[in-house]
Symmetry: C2
Subunit: 264 residues, 2 copies
Amino acid sequence: MYTNILRGREGTGVAEAEKKISYQRAVMGLRERILTGALAVGDRVSEVALARDLGVSRTPLREAMSELVEQGLLEKMPTGGCMVRSLTRADVEDGIELRGTLEGLACRLAAERGVSGDRLAACDALLDRIDVALGRSAENTDFELYMDLNAQFHHALAQLGGSAVVLRELERVTNMPMAGPSAFLQGQAVIPQTLRSLLVAQDHHRSIVDAIRQREGARAEALAREHARLALRNLNFFLGEGARHSARIPGIALMADVGTRGVG
Amino acid sequence: MYTNILRGREGTGVAEAEKKISYQRAVMGLRERILTGALAVGDRVSEVALARDLGVSRTPLREAMSELVEQGLLEKMPTGGCMVRSLTRADVEDGIELRGTLEGLACRLAAERGVSGDRLAACDALLDRIDVALGRSAENTDFELYMDLNAQFHHALAQLGGSAVVLRELERVTNMPMAGPSAFLQGQAVIPQTLRSLLVAQDHHRSIVDAIRQREGARAEALAREHARLALRNLNFFLGEGARHSARIPGIALMADVGTRGVG
DNA sequence: CTGAGGATGTTTGTATACATTAATTTTCAT
DNA sequence: ATGAAAATTAATGTATACAAACATCCTCAG
């Protein structure tokens, strides 16, 4: 279920995927074409061509396009139709900060409102499994498993807040390109520089759960925010010295500028 | 432009509204029918009947329904189709808290990143106009003008953060029923009990702008959060002793329970 | 009398045809 | 040759027709 951002949650066989309803096929196919760069930034998405390409009619494709506009992968052109959205570095940075803020809100609410022991124990169990995935040394690390468990943990954390509204928004932000908690773990893109951060991240995880258990809302919130900022470091790395590894990061093809923000 | 949540931003004449594209007519019409309670909570929205009623075909109506699902007014049924969403008190409370958190984020970013003097001056000008709208006493208060200016100020505040991503999410939350900053000011529903809070709210406004000007990020964020919680008081009032005035609040028809949340 | 099975009617999901608006090219005048 | 304007082409927005899925109700056996 928490496997890959490109592969949906369909079964193993292709035959089963073919049976999926047209709308979902359109969403997944279009999302893939955008994230892999098959559709270049700024390209106007031609409905007829894409519909033919995806093997669906225009109606479900248009629904899928609306969905991707919501997800921030497309943007509506004032004249009509859509184009592939161009993401600035500031957009991605703000998306990460936004995720940290919302995760912080969820964690604070969890701490303030209280969480049952069962759910906290489930989080602990997930963290134990993450420890196993990390292994004893870098060579033993199971990156794919880590990515999967990390996504599960963040999802569990979002649910701890007990707010369907917050959970919903958090899922939205997680779908934004490169803003999700596993954005820089996709495609086995982990390299020594980012590996170190995994250990820090896991320490954050433990501390956050501890803060929630102790009903320390402010601490839980601050930790969750700081935790999200680890992704900022990864972003900077892949946009700087680690640029040659960046091709594996889904969605990085959407980034236009590499300049930094001015303080206005 | 910031007039009423039911009236769109069309011109004065009805003829001009008729010319609007079907999709927008469908969104506005459906939104009105839901917020006014013409479509009861839990009702399955029949596409053919509504399309005939709204004078559009099913295609733009379905797009409008997807939009309202995004806005949280409808929810997709697992079997297909949509029904009018039932809002719990907790949903509304969390929506308000969420807005406070996001406005707090925008204000903190504004303070940290800095804002040009021009934009701060524009905020000050808006606040001066709000003071005029408030008048010298309760009898002189121009509620409709206050509501309009208040919405403008909150919008300006959201833009001060300088983040298109945050602005976007904030606009989403503002569209959620009863979560926006003017939710309890609609329809001249202001009564003595809520009037008092307007003075406090305006003091918050001034303090927030001051904090941003002084580059005090933490203060700006805390103030913005507390400011949103004024809406919580209004919610409690209209759900309690002020229940007989609540009919004027758009969207309150969506609320099902009146119980309080358990700490679990 | 009750429950399972099937037939029927209604509703959504999809495809396609039509209408309207935007983009492009061509033409003509300056 | 260049610019503007009109005509043409191509795209989107909308309506409708069709198909598949869901719900309902009726029948009939146990």
